[in-house]
Symmetry: C2
């Protein structure tokens, strides 16, 4: 009622999302992340993988074997969910799960040769997907964007 409707402007109110919504950083983030997640999930599915696979494999290659709880802490996956991820990874022979002789509570998870090869494949796939995700940005801008993301995330994990 307050807001006047100019008769000469075509009424696209049925389609257009309000500017306030389009500008909110928080909303932009969720929307973009939704797209990004779908992109990644679908891309990885094409090679029979899921993003948690990558997290675990990368952590194994980078820091060596570890217990499930360790992997959980490194990758941010809850240890209750880690069970399923490791079942999938052992099922694909990308990883080996063996009891720790020194501490019988633990399982020691080791990446296999095949797992290492798979990880490098996933690295390629993800490089391409990230490329697609950041397509509209120039290399310099991508760098900047990623650095900002790191700063923001670091800030909000420190102040948890």
């Amino acid at each position: 009622m307050i807001r006047a409707e100019a008769a000469d402007i075509p009424d696209d109110s049925a389609l257009r999302t309000p500017d306030r919504l389009r500008r909110r950083a928080s909303r932009l983030l969720s929307q973009l992340t939704m797209r990004s997640d779908r992109l990644i999930t679908e891309g990885l599915a094409r090679t029979d993988a899921r993003k948690w696979h990558y997290a675990v494999l990368a952590s194994l290659e980078e820091y060596g074997p570890g217990s499930q709880a360790e992997l959980s802490r490194r990758s941010g996956i809850y240890r209750s969910d880690m069970v399923g991820v490791l079942n999938e990874l052992t099922g694909r022979h990308l990883v080996e799960r063996a009891p720790d002789p020194g501490d019988r509570r633990r399982n020691i998870i080791t990446i296999s040769a095949r797992g290492r090869r798979h990880l490098h494949l996933l690295d390629k796939v993800l490089d391409e997907l990230d490329d697609e995700l950041l397509a509209p940005l120039s290399p310099a801008e991508r760098d900047q964007f990623v650095r900002m993301l790191v700063r923001l995330l670091d800030h909000h994990t420190r102040t948890s």
Copy 2:
């Protein structure tokens, strides 16, 4: 095995997440968005609101009354979920839902005076929350960041 362990560097492999993971734009986005969503959800909960409420109210103030399907298209909320959101909003008397005399399939949703006041409150709350979210960035950087987000999102919605 390939990767050497320098003996003088303390082994923080239990805590640290692999660098590969920390640099991936897609992962950074999901992680940050998770924080952001929590921030927003909790912040809005303090005033008994949810983010969908804001989307609907903003769309109503910006483009005037509309049918549920219209609101759905404007705000990106599925029309199946819109029902519940509007129930909550009418319950709080922020919005009125009346049958359209000209088309008996439709309901016409109108924002109330109280709804308008509530919207402006939410605007303030969200301004503060976005501020908190982007705290580590300078004003210029925030601007840049938001613009990049817009470009990225636009690109991925055009190419749907």
